[in-house]
Protein backbone atom coordinates (compact mmCIF):
# COMPACT_ATOMS: atom_id res chain seq x y z
CA UNK A 1 0.00 0.00 0.00
CA UNK A 2 1.29 3.45 -0.72
CA UNK A 3 -0.27 6.85 -0.38
CA UNK A 4 0.53 9.03 -3.36
CA UNK A 5 1.91 12.40 -2.36
CA UNK A 6 -0.20 15.18 -3.73
CA UNK A 7 0.99 17.83 -6.16
CA UNK A 8 1.71 21.34 -4.87
CA UNK A 9 -1.37 23.29 -3.88
CA UNK A 10 -3.41 24.67 -6.72
CA UNK A 11 -5.52 27.69 -5.85
CA UNK A 12 -8.60 26.14 -7.40
CA UNK A 13 -8.17 23.02 -5.27
CA UNK A 14 -7.36 24.60 -1.96
CA UNK A 15 -8.98 22.58 0.75
CA UNK A 16 -10.60 24.69 3.39
CA UNK A 17 -9.43 27.91 1.83
CA UNK A 18 -11.85 30.78 1.71
CA UNK A 19 -13.38 31.18 -1.75
CA UNK A 20 -11.76 33.84 -3.88
CA UNK A 21 -13.76 36.84 -4.92
CA UNK A 22 -13.56 35.94 -8.59
CA UNK A 23 -14.66 32.35 -7.99
CA UNK A 24 -17.76 31.35 -9.82
CA UNK A 25 -20.36 31.39 -7.02
CA UNK A 26 -22.23 28.54 -8.63
CA UNK A 27 -19.28 26.18 -8.71
CA UNK A 28 -18.18 26.10 -5.07
CA UNK A 29 -19.95 25.23 -1.82
CA UNK A 30 -22.72 27.70 -2.62
CA UNK A 31 -25.01 25.78 -4.97
CA UNK A 32 -27.68 27.80 -6.75
CA UNK A 33 -31.35 27.48 -5.87
CA UNK A 34 -32.07 24.96 -8.63
CA UNK A 35 -29.17 22.75 -7.55
CA UNK A 36 -30.26 23.01 -3.93
CA UNK A 37 -33.80 22.01 -4.86
CA UNK A 38 -32.51 19.08 -6.91
CA UNK A 39 -30.24 18.04 -4.08
CA UNK A 40 -33.12 18.30 -1.62
CA UNK A 41 -35.30 16.15 -3.85
CA UNK A 42 -32.43 13.72 -4.32
CA UNK A 43 -31.99 13.55 -0.56
CA UNK A 44 -35.68 12.68 -0.14
CA UNK A 45 -35.49 10.13 -2.93
CA UNK A 46 -32.43 8.56 -1.31
CA UNK A 47 -34.15 8.43 2.10
CA UNK A 48 -37.24 6.82 0.56
CA UNK A 49 -35.22 4.25 -1.39
CA UNK A 50 -33.08 3.51 1.66
CA UNK A 51 -36.17 3.00 3.83
CA UNK A 52 -37.75 0.72 1.22
CA UNK A 53 -34.51 -1.25 0.98
CA UNK A 54 -34.34 -1.68 4.75
CA UNK A 55 -37.97 -2.83 4.92
CA UNK A 56 -37.40 -5.25 2.05
CA UNK A 57 -34.35 -6.64 3.82
CA UNK A 58 -36.59 -7.82 6.65
CA UNK A 59 -39.70 -8.93 4.75
CA UNK A 60 -41.20 -11.10 7.46
CA UNK A 61 -40.66 -8.57 10.23
CA UNK A 62 -41.99 -5.74 8.07
CA UNK A 63 -45.00 -7.82 7.02
CA UNK A 64 -45.98 -8.67 10.57
CA UNK A 65 -45.52 -5.10 11.77
CA UNK A 66 -47.85 -3.96 8.99
CA UNK A 67 -50.26 -6.79 9.77
CA UNK A 68 -50.48 -5.87 13.48
CA UNK A 69 -51.14 -2.28 12.49
CA UNK A 70 -53.66 -3.37 9.86
CA UNK A 71 -55.64 -5.43 12.38
CA UNK A 72 -55.64 -2.51 14.80
CA UNK A 73 -56.84 -0.20 12.03
CA UNK A 74 -59.46 -2.53 10.63
CA UNK A 75 -61.19 -3.21 13.97
CA UNK A 76 -62.71 0.26 14.53
CA UNK A 77 -63.20 0.80 10.81
CA UNK A 78 -64.92 -2.56 10.47
CA UNK A 79 -67.20 -1.83 13.41
CA UNK A 80 -68.04 1.58 11.96
CA UNK A 81 -68.94 -0.02 8.64
CA UNK A 82 -71.12 -2.62 10.40
CA UNK A 83 -72.90 0.19 12.26
CA UNK A 84 -73.54 1.91 8.95
CA UNK A 85 -75.06 -1.29 7.67
CA UNK A 86 -77.22 -1.68 10.78
CA UNK A 87 -78.43 1.86 10.31
CA UNK A 88 -79.23 1.07 6.71
CA UNK A 89 -81.01 -2.14 7.76
CA UNK A 90 -83.20 -0.27 10.22
CA UNK A 91 -84.19 2.14 7.46
CA UNK A 92 -83.11 5.70 7.12
CA UNK A 93 -83.73 8.05 10.03
CA UNK A 94 -86.47 9.77 8.09
CA UNK A 95 -88.30 6.51 7.44
CA UNK A 96 -87.93 5.49 11.07
CA UNK A 97 -89.57 8.70 12.24
CA UNK A 98 -92.60 8.72 9.92
CA UNK A 99 -95.84 10.23 11.17
CA UNK A 100 -99.00 8.36 10.21
CA UNK A 101 -102.17 10.49 9.75
CA UNK A 102 -105.28 8.34 9.97
CA UNK A 103 -108.13 10.14 8.24
CA UNK A 104 -111.81 9.95 9.07
CA UNK A 105 -113.57 7.00 7.43
CA UNK A 106 -115.74 9.28 5.33
CA UNK A 107 -112.73 11.09 3.80
CA UNK A 108 -112.66 10.53 0.06
CA UNK A 109 -109.72 9.56 -2.10
CA UNK A 110 -109.65 13.09 -3.60
CA UNK A 111 -109.57 14.66 -0.16
CA UNK A 112 -106.74 12.35 0.83
CA UNK A 113 -104.73 13.30 -2.26
CA UNK A 114 -105.38 17.00 -1.65
CA UNK A 115 -104.28 16.64 1.96
CA UNK A 116 -101.09 14.84 0.83
CA UNK A 117 -100.27 17.70 -1.56
CA UNK A 118 -100.91 20.28 1.15
CA UNK A 119 -98.66 18.48 3.63
CA UNK A 120 -95.85 17.94 1.13
CA UNK A 121 -95.58 21.71 0.65
CA UNK A 122 -94.71 22.19 4.32
CA UNK A 123 -91.06 23.24 4.93
CA UNK A 124 -90.34 20.60 7.53
CA UNK A 125 -91.77 17.72 5.49
CA UNK A 126 -89.53 15.74 3.16
CA UNK A 127 -92.18 13.49 1.68
CA UNK A 128 -95.85 12.56 2.04
CA UNK A 129 -97.57 9.43 0.71
CA UNK A 130 -101.32 8.78 0.40
CA UNK A 131 -102.52 5.26 1.16
CA UNK A 132 -106.16 4.89 0.26
CA UNK A 133 -108.58 2.72 2.26
CA UNK A 134 -108.63 0.11 -0.52
CA UNK A 135 -104.84 -0.09 -0.71
CA UNK A 136 -104.59 -0.26 3.08
CA UNK A 137 -107.00 -3.19 3.13
CA UNK A 138 -105.14 -4.98 0.34
CA UNK A 139 -101.82 -4.62 2.13
CA UNK A 140 -103.33 -5.69 5.43
CA UNK A 141 -104.85 -8.74 3.81
CA UNK A 142 -101.51 -9.72 2.32
CA UNK A 143 -99.41 -9.08 5.41
CA UNK A 144 -101.75 -10.32 8.14
CA UNK A 145 -102.71 -13.65 6.58
CA UNK A 146 -106.37 -12.89 7.40
CA UNK A 147 -107.37 -12.43 3.79
CA UNK A 148 -110.42 -14.69 3.80
CA UNK A 149 -111.70 -13.46 7.16
CA UNK A 150 -111.43 -9.83 6.10
CA UNK A 151 -113.45 -10.55 2.95
CA UNK A 152 -116.37 -11.50 5.17
CA UNK A 153 -116.56 -7.99 6.66
CA UNK A 154 -119.45 -5.90 5.32
CA UNK A 155 -117.36 -2.69 5.08
CA UNK A 156 -113.72 -1.80 4.88
CA UNK A 157 -112.85 -0.87 8.50
CA UNK A 158 -109.50 0.72 7.64
CA UNK A 159 -109.15 4.49 7.23
CA UNK A 160 -107.06 6.22 4.55
CA UNK A 161 -103.59 7.17 5.75
CA UNK A 162 -101.16 9.92 4.83
CA UNK A 163 -97.61 8.80 5.74
CA UNK A 164 -95.45 11.87 6.41
CA UNK A 165 -91.63 11.77 6.35
CA UNK A 166 -90.14 14.75 8.21
CA UNK A 167 -86.99 16.51 7.09
CA UNK A 168 -85.25 16.54 10.47
CA UNK A 169 -85.20 14.15 13.33
CA UNK A 170 -85.63 16.09 16.50
CA UNK A 171 -87.94 14.91 19.20
CA UNK A 172 -89.39 18.37 19.98
CA UNK A 173 -89.73 19.38 16.32
CA UNK A 174 -91.35 16.04 15.46
CA UNK A 175 -93.87 16.42 18.26
CA UNK A 176 -94.68 19.97 17.12
CA UNK A 177 -95.16 18.75 13.55
CA UNK A 178 -97.39 15.92 14.76
CA UNK A 179 -99.60 18.39 16.66
CA UNK A 180 -99.88 20.68 13.61
CA UNK A 181 -100.75 17.74 11.35
CA UNK A 182 -103.33 16.49 13.86
CA UNK A 183 -105.23 19.75 13.50
CA UNK A 184 -105.62 19.46 9.72
CA UNK A 185 -109.16 18.78 8.44
CA UNK A 186 -110.18 15.14 7.95
CA UNK A 187 -107.38 13.95 10.27
CA UNK A 188 -108.73 11.77 13.04
CA UNK A 189 -105.43 10.72 14.57
CA UNK A 190 -101.77 11.61 14.08
CA UNK A 191 -99.40 8.91 15.31
CA UNK A 192 -95.67 9.23 15.81
CA UNK A 193 -93.84 6.16 17.04
CA UNK A 194 -90.76 7.67 18.57
CA UNK A 195 -89.96 4.93 21.02
CA UNK A 196 -88.23 2.58 18.64
CA UNK A 197 -86.55 5.51 16.91
CA UNK A 198 -85.16 6.55 20.24
CA UNK A 199 -84.09 3.03 21.04
CA UNK A 200 -82.35 2.60 17.72
CA UNK A 201 -80.79 6.04 18.09
CA UNK A 202 -79.55 5.18 21.58
CA UNK A 203 -78.12 1.88 20.38
CA UNK A 204 -76.39 3.49 17.43
CA UNK A 205 -75.03 6.28 19.62
CA UNK A 206 -73.74 3.66 22.04
CA UNK A 207 -72.17 1.86 19.11
CA UNK A 208 -70.61 5.07 17.80
CA UNK A 209 -69.23 5.91 21.21
CA UNK A 210 -67.81 2.41 21.54
CA UNK A 211 -66.19 2.72 18.11
CA UNK A 212 -64.80 6.14 19.04
CA UNK A 213 -63.32 4.83 22.30
CA UNK A 214 -61.93 1.78 20.54
CA UNK A 215 -60.46 4.00 17.82
CA UNK A 216 -58.70 6.16 20.42
CA UNK A 217 -57.27 3.12 22.18
CA UNK A 218 -56.13 1.51 18.95
CA UNK A 219 -54.62 4.77 17.66
CA UNK A 220 -52.55 4.88 20.84
CA UNK A 221 -51.62 1.24 20.37
CA UNK A 222 -50.65 1.97 16.76
CA UNK A 223 -48.45 4.88 17.80
CA UNK A 224 -46.76 2.60 20.31
CA UNK A 225 -46.24 -0.14 17.70
CA UNK A 226 -44.78 2.33 15.21
CA UNK A 227 -42.75 4.08 17.89
CA UNK A 228 -41.29 0.83 19.15
CA UNK A 229 -40.49 -0.37 15.64
CA UNK A 230 -38.79 2.89 14.74
CA UNK A 231 -36.93 2.85 18.06
CA UNK A 232 -35.45 -0.54 17.11
CA UNK A 233 -34.43 0.85 13.71
CA UNK A 234 -32.82 3.81 15.47
CA UNK A 235 -30.91 1.48 17.79
CA UNK A 236 -29.69 -0.55 14.82
CA UNK A 237 -28.45 2.62 13.13
CA UNK A 238 -27.07 4.37 16.20
CA UNK A 239 -23.46 4.40 14.98
CA UNK A 240 -24.55 5.65 11.54
CA UNK A 241 -26.56 8.44 13.14
CA UNK A 242 -23.61 9.41 15.31
CA UNK A 243 -21.40 9.67 12.22
CA UNK A 244 -24.03 11.70 10.37
CA UNK A 245 -24.26 14.11 13.29
CA UNK A 246 -20.47 14.39 13.49
CA UNK A 247 -20.17 15.37 9.86
CA UNK A 248 -22.84 18.04 10.15
CA UNK A 249 -26.18 16.28 9.68
CA UNK A 250 -29.07 18.25 11.13
CA UNK A 251 -31.85 16.72 13.20
CA UNK A 252 -34.18 16.89 10.22
CA UNK A 253 -31.61 15.04 8.06
CA UNK A 254 -31.37 12.33 10.73
CA UNK A 255 -35.13 12.20 11.15
CA UNK A 256 -35.99 11.97 7.44
CA UNK A 257 -35.38 8.27 6.70
CA UNK A 258 -37.28 7.25 9.82
CA UNK A 259 -40.24 9.40 8.84
CA UNK A 260 -40.27 7.68 5.47
CA UNK A 261 -40.06 4.33 7.21
CA UNK A 262 -42.98 5.15 9.50
CA UNK A 263 -45.02 6.39 6.55
CA UNK A 264 -44.22 3.26 4.58
CA UNK A 265 -45.34 1.10 7.50
CA UNK A 266 -48.53 3.17 7.56
CA UNK A 267 -49.01 2.68 3.82
CA UNK A 268 -48.53 -1.08 4.09
CA UNK A 269 -50.86 -1.25 7.10
CA UNK A 270 -53.50 0.90 5.41
CA UNK A 271 -53.53 -1.23 2.28
CA UNK A 272 -53.66 -4.43 4.33
CA UNK A 273 -56.48 -3.06 6.51
CA UNK A 274 -58.45 -2.07 3.40
CA UNK A 275 -57.96 -5.54 1.99
CA UNK A 276 -58.90 -7.21 5.29
CA UNK A 277 -62.10 -5.16 5.53
CA UNK A 278 -63.09 -5.73 1.92
CA UNK A 279 -62.46 -9.46 2.23
CA UNK A 280 -64.08 -9.66 5.68
CA UNK A 281 -67.27 -7.89 4.59
CA UNK A 282 -67.50 -9.98 1.41
CA UNK A 283 -67.05 -13.14 3.48
CA UNK A 284 -69.72 -12.05 5.98
CA UNK A 285 -72.06 -10.90 3.24
CA UNK A 286 -72.80 -14.43 2.04
CA UNK A 287 -74.26 -15.38 5.41
CA UNK A 288 -76.09 -12.04 5.77
CA UNK A 289 -77.73 -12.41 2.34
CA UNK A 290 -78.90 -15.94 3.20
CA UNK A 291 -80.30 -14.76 6.54
CA UNK A 292 -82.02 -11.75 4.97
CA UNK A 293 -83.48 -14.02 2.29
CA UNK A 294 -85.26 -15.99 5.03
CA UNK A 295 -87.02 -12.74 6.00
CA UNK A 296 -87.92 -11.99 2.35
CA UNK A 297 -85.42 -9.16 2.33
CA UNK A 298 -82.83 -8.38 -0.32
CA UNK A 299 -80.56 -6.73 2.23
CA UNK A 300 -76.84 -7.13 1.63
CA UNK A 301 -73.82 -5.67 3.41
CA UNK A 302 -72.28 -2.72 1.64
CA UNK A 303 -68.56 -3.08 0.95
CA UNK A 304 -65.86 -0.55 1.86
CA UNK A 305 -66.79 2.72 0.12
CA UNK A 306 -63.92 4.27 -1.84
CA UNK A 307 -63.98 7.41 0.30
CA UNK A 308 -63.77 5.36 3.50
CA UNK A 309 -60.97 3.25 2.06
CA UNK A 310 -59.01 6.33 1.09
CA UNK A 311 -59.64 7.88 4.51
CA UNK A 312 -58.35 4.69 6.10
CA UNK A 313 -55.24 4.81 3.92
CA UNK A 314 -54.58 8.48 4.64
CA UNK A 315 -55.16 7.94 8.36
CA UNK A 316 -52.71 5.04 8.35
CA UNK A 317 -50.08 7.12 6.52
CA UNK A 318 -50.58 9.96 8.97
CA UNK A 319 -50.36 7.67 11.99
CA UNK A 320 -47.19 6.08 10.63
CA UNK A 321 -45.64 9.48 10.08
CA UNK A 322 -46.65 10.83 13.50
CA UNK A 323 -45.57 7.65 15.29
CA UNK A 324 -42.16 7.81 13.64
CA UNK A 325 -41.83 11.52 14.32
CA UNK A 326 -42.61 11.04 18.02
CA UNK A 327 -40.20 8.13 18.29
CA UNK A 328 -37.33 10.00 16.64
CA UNK A 329 -38.05 13.19 18.59
CA UNK A 330 -37.94 11.18 21.80
CA UNK A 331 -34.64 9.51 20.96
CA UNK A 332 -32.89 12.29 19.04
CA UNK A 333 -31.24 13.77 22.12
CA UNK A 334 -29.87 10.36 23.03
CA UNK A 335 -28.24 10.14 19.61
CA UNK A 336 -25.56 12.73 20.31
CA UNK A 337 -22.14 11.50 19.13
CA UNK A 338 -20.16 9.85 21.92
Amino acid sequence: MSATRMPPPQPAQRVGAAPKKNDNPKSGDEPDLRSQLNAWLESHRASLVDSLRRLAKQPIGSFFTCLVMAVALSLPMGLALLLDNVERLGGSWQRAAQISLFLQLEATDAQGQALREQIEKMDDVAEAEWISRERALDEFQQQSGLGEALKELPDNPLPGVVVVTPREIDKVALEALRLRLAELPQVQQAQLDLLWVERLSAMLKLGERFVFGLTLLLVMALLLVIGNTIRLHIENRRSEIEVIKLVGGTDSYVRRPFLYMGTLYGLGAGLMAWGLLAYGLAWLNGAVVRLAGLYSSDFALAGVPLADGLSLLLGALFLGYIGAWLAVARHLNELAPR
Binding site: S2, A3, M6, P31, W40, E42, E240, L246, V247
Partner: protein, 222 residues
Protein backbone atom coordinates in the same frame (compact mmCIF):
# COMPACT_ATOMS: atom_id res chain seq x y z
CA UNK B 1 -8.53 30.00 13.62
CA UNK B 2 -8.77 28.46 17.10
CA UNK B 3 -8.54 30.45 20.28
CA UNK B 4 -8.68 28.92 23.76
CA UNK B 5 -8.95 31.57 26.48
CA UNK B 6 -8.80 30.12 29.99
CA UNK B 7 -10.96 27.22 28.85
CA UNK B 8 -11.86 24.78 31.59
CA UNK B 9 -13.94 21.63 31.50
CA UNK B 10 -15.34 20.10 34.63
CA UNK B 11 -17.66 17.07 34.44
CA UNK B 12 -20.70 16.59 36.67
CA UNK B 13 -18.88 13.83 38.59
CA UNK B 14 -16.23 16.35 39.63
CA UNK B 15 -13.52 15.17 37.23
CA UNK B 16 -11.65 18.08 35.65
CA UNK B 17 -10.88 17.45 31.97
CA UNK B 18 -9.13 20.74 31.23
CA UNK B 19 -7.67 23.44 33.51
CA UNK B 20 -7.86 27.00 32.18
CA UNK B 21 -6.28 26.16 28.85
CA UNK B 22 -5.09 29.07 26.71
CA UNK B 23 -3.51 28.85 23.27
CA UNK B 24 -4.03 30.11 19.75
CA UNK B 25 -3.86 28.28 16.42
CA UNK B 26 -3.42 30.24 13.21
CA UNK B 27 -5.25 29.42 9.99
CA UNK B 28 -3.33 26.85 7.93
CA UNK B 29 -1.25 25.67 10.87
CA UNK B 30 -0.32 22.00 11.50
CA UNK B 31 -0.06 21.03 15.12
CA UNK B 32 -0.09 18.07 17.40
CA UNK B 33 -1.71 17.76 20.79
CA UNK B 34 0.03 15.14 22.82
CA UNK B 35 -0.02 13.75 26.31
CA UNK B 36 -0.64 10.53 28.17
CA UNK B 37 -3.99 8.87 28.34
CA UNK B 38 -6.34 11.10 30.35
CA UNK B 39 -4.27 14.22 29.67
CA UNK B 40 -7.24 15.95 28.03
CA UNK B 41 -6.51 15.45 24.31
CA UNK B 42 -9.89 13.96 23.53
CA UNK B 43 -11.69 16.52 25.71
CA UNK B 44 -10.04 19.26 23.68
CA UNK B 45 -11.22 17.70 20.42
CA UNK B 46 -14.72 17.16 21.80
CA UNK B 47 -14.90 20.83 22.74
CA UNK B 48 -13.86 21.84 19.23
CA UNK B 49 -16.55 19.58 17.76
CA UNK B 50 -19.11 21.04 20.16
CA UNK B 51 -19.75 17.57 21.52
CA UNK B 52 -19.24 19.22 24.90
CA UNK B 53 -19.33 22.79 26.15
CA UNK B 54 -16.58 24.48 28.12
CA UNK B 55 -17.39 24.91 31.82
CA UNK B 56 -15.45 28.16 31.90
CA UNK B 57 -13.44 30.44 29.65
CA UNK B 58 -13.94 31.29 26.01
CA UNK B 59 -13.39 29.03 23.01
CA UNK B 60 -13.44 30.63 19.57
CA UNK B 61 -13.39 28.70 16.30
CA UNK B 62 -13.21 30.85 13.16
CA UNK B 63 -14.62 33.71 15.22
CA UNK B 64 -17.56 31.67 16.55
CA UNK B 65 -17.85 31.36 20.31
CA UNK B 66 -18.36 27.68 21.04
CA UNK B 67 -19.14 28.40 24.68
CA UNK B 68 -22.48 29.81 23.65
CA UNK B 69 -23.26 27.89 20.47
CA UNK B 70 -26.88 26.73 20.19
CA UNK B 71 -27.85 23.16 19.39
CA UNK B 72 -29.27 24.29 16.05
CA UNK B 73 -25.91 25.87 15.09
CA UNK B 74 -23.83 22.78 15.88
CA UNK B 75 -24.43 20.91 12.57
CA UNK B 76 -23.39 23.99 10.60
CA UNK B 77 -20.24 24.36 12.73
CA UNK B 78 -19.34 20.72 12.13
CA UNK B 79 -19.67 21.23 8.38
CA UNK B 80 -16.58 23.44 8.62
CA UNK B 81 -14.64 20.68 10.35
CA UNK B 82 -13.33 17.35 9.13
CA UNK B 83 -12.81 14.60 11.70
CA UNK B 84 -10.66 11.48 11.52
CA UNK B 85 -11.08 8.88 14.22
CA UNK B 86 -8.76 6.16 15.44
CA UNK B 87 -11.46 3.59 14.78
CA UNK B 88 -12.35 5.23 11.42
CA UNK B 89 -16.12 5.38 12.21
CA UNK B 90 -16.96 4.15 8.71
CA UNK B 91 -20.37 2.82 7.72
CA UNK B 92 -19.75 -0.79 6.78
CA UNK B 93 -23.03 -1.25 4.92
CA UNK B 94 -22.15 1.53 2.47
CA UNK B 95 -19.53 1.55 -0.25
CA UNK B 96 -16.34 3.57 0.03
CA UNK B 97 -17.86 6.07 -2.40
CA UNK B 98 -21.01 6.45 -0.27
CA UNK B 99 -18.97 6.82 2.93
CA UNK B 100 -16.93 9.63 1.43
CA UNK B 101 -19.99 11.22 -0.17
CA UNK B 102 -21.88 11.47 3.15
CA UNK B 103 -20.75 15.01 4.16
CA UNK B 104 -21.54 16.28 0.64
CA UNK B 105 -25.01 14.70 0.69
CA UNK B 106 -25.62 16.43 4.00
CA UNK B 107 -24.44 19.71 2.46
CA UNK B 108 -27.01 19.17 -0.28
CA UNK B 109 -24.65 19.26 -3.23
CA UNK B 110 -25.77 18.06 -6.63
CA UNK B 111 -25.09 14.46 -7.63
CA UNK B 112 -22.53 15.40 -10.32
CA UNK B 113 -20.65 17.66 -7.95
CA UNK B 114 -20.63 14.95 -5.29
CA UNK B 115 -19.23 12.44 -7.80
CA UNK B 116 -16.45 14.82 -8.84
CA UNK B 117 -15.44 15.70 -5.32
CA UNK B 118 -15.53 12.14 -4.03
CA UNK B 119 -13.31 10.96 -6.89
CA UNK B 120 -10.86 13.79 -6.20
CA UNK B 121 -10.77 13.01 -2.48
CA UNK B 122 -10.25 9.30 -3.13
CA UNK B 123 -7.47 10.08 -5.61
CA UNK B 124 -5.78 12.17 -2.95
CA UNK B 125 -5.64 9.19 -0.62
CA UNK B 126 -4.82 6.78 -3.49
CA UNK B 127 -8.09 4.86 -3.21
CA UNK B 128 -9.75 5.86 -6.47
CA UNK B 129 -9.92 2.21 -7.54
CA UNK B 130 -11.65 1.16 -4.31
CA UNK B 131 -14.69 3.43 -4.65
CA UNK B 132 -17.18 0.61 -5.21
CA UNK B 133 -15.77 -1.65 -2.52
CA UNK B 134 -17.03 -1.83 1.02
CA UNK B 135 -14.92 -0.80 4.03
CA UNK B 136 -14.93 -4.38 5.30
CA UNK B 137 -13.00 -5.42 2.19
CA UNK B 138 -10.17 -2.96 2.89
CA UNK B 139 -7.10 -3.12 5.11
CA UNK B 140 -6.92 -1.03 8.28
CA UNK B 141 -4.66 1.50 6.58
CA UNK B 142 -7.02 1.78 3.63
CA UNK B 143 -9.98 2.22 5.98
CA UNK B 144 -8.12 5.04 7.70
CA UNK B 145 -7.52 6.70 4.34
CA UNK B 146 -11.23 6.40 3.53
CA UNK B 147 -11.85 8.17 6.84
CA UNK B 148 -9.43 10.91 5.81
CA UNK B 149 -11.05 11.26 2.39
CA UNK B 150 -14.45 11.63 4.09
CA UNK B 151 -12.98 14.22 6.46
CA UNK B 152 -11.61 16.44 3.69
CA UNK B 153 -14.10 15.89 0.85
CA UNK B 154 -16.22 18.89 1.86
CA UNK B 155 -13.13 21.15 2.01
CA UNK B 156 -13.28 21.91 5.72
CA UNK B 157 -11.37 24.80 7.24
CA UNK B 158 -10.17 22.59 10.08
CA UNK B 159 -9.19 18.92 10.16
CA UNK B 160 -9.20 17.19 13.53
CA UNK B 161 -7.72 13.74 14.01
CA UNK B 162 -7.93 11.69 17.17
CA UNK B 163 -5.08 9.15 17.35
CA UNK B 164 -5.33 8.55 13.59
CA UNK B 165 -2.33 6.21 13.53
CA UNK B 166 -3.10 4.38 16.75
CA UNK B 167 -3.85 1.07 15.05
CA UNK B 168 -1.27 1.29 12.28
CA UNK B 169 2.27 -0.01 11.98
CA UNK B 170 5.02 2.65 11.78
CA UNK B 171 5.29 2.55 7.97
CA UNK B 172 1.54 3.01 7.48
CA UNK B 173 1.47 5.64 10.22
CA UNK B 174 4.14 7.65 8.39
CA UNK B 175 2.17 7.40 5.15
CA UNK B 176 -1.02 8.59 6.81
CA UNK B 177 0.87 11.52 8.33
CA UNK B 178 2.15 12.30 4.85
CA UNK B 179 -1.44 12.52 3.67
CA UNK B 180 -2.25 14.94 6.51
CA UNK B 181 0.72 17.11 5.54
CA UNK B 182 -0.47 17.18 1.92
CA UNK B 183 -3.90 18.29 3.08
CA UNK B 184 -2.32 20.95 5.28
CA UNK B 185 -0.30 22.26 2.34
CA UNK B 186 -3.58 22.81 0.52
CA UNK B 187 -4.55 25.30 3.23
CA UNK B 188 -6.44 23.29 5.83
CA UNK B 189 -5.62 23.77 9.49
CA UNK B 190 -4.71 20.35 10.89
CA UNK B 191 -4.87 19.42 14.55
CA UNK B 192 -3.86 15.89 15.48
CA UNK B 193 -4.20 14.35 18.91
CA UNK B 194 -1.59 11.64 19.31
CA UNK B 195 0.61 10.12 21.98
CA UNK B 196 3.11 8.72 19.44
CA UNK B 197 6.00 11.00 20.37
CA UNK B 198 8.46 9.29 18.05
CA UNK B 199 6.25 9.95 15.06
CA UNK B 200 5.54 13.53 16.16
CA UNK B 201 9.24 14.20 16.59
CA UNK B 202 9.93 13.22 12.99
CA UNK B 203 7.27 15.61 11.69
CA UNK B 204 8.74 18.81 13.19
CA UNK B 205 5.49 20.69 13.70
CA UNK B 206 4.13 22.66 16.60
CA UNK B 207 3.20 20.46 19.54
CA UNK B 208 0.97 21.20 22.52
CA UNK B 209 1.67 18.96 25.48
CA UNK B 210 -1.08 18.31 27.96
CA UNK B 211 -0.80 16.71 31.37
CA UNK B 212 -3.83 16.11 33.55
CA UNK B 213 -5.75 18.78 31.67
CA UNK B 214 -3.05 21.43 31.89
CA UNK B 215 -0.95 22.79 29.04
CA UNK B 216 2.64 22.10 30.00
CA UNK B 217 4.36 22.65 26.67
CA UNK B 218 3.84 24.58 23.45
CA UNK B 219 6.56 24.48 20.82
CA UNK B 220 8.05 22.60 17.90
CA UNK B 221 8.56 18.91 18.45
CA UNK B 222 12.19 18.17 19.04
Amino acid sequence: MIKFEQVGKRYPNGHVGLHELSFHVRRGEFLFVTGHSGAGKSTLLRLLLAMERPSSGKLLLAGQDLSHITNAQIPYLRRQIGVVFQNHQLLFDRSVFDNVALPLQILGLAKDEIGKRVRTALERVSLADKAEQFPGDLSTGQQQRVGIARAVVHRPALLLADEPTGNLDPRLAAEIMGVFEDINRLGTTVLIASHDLALIARMRHRMLTLQRGRLIGDGEAA
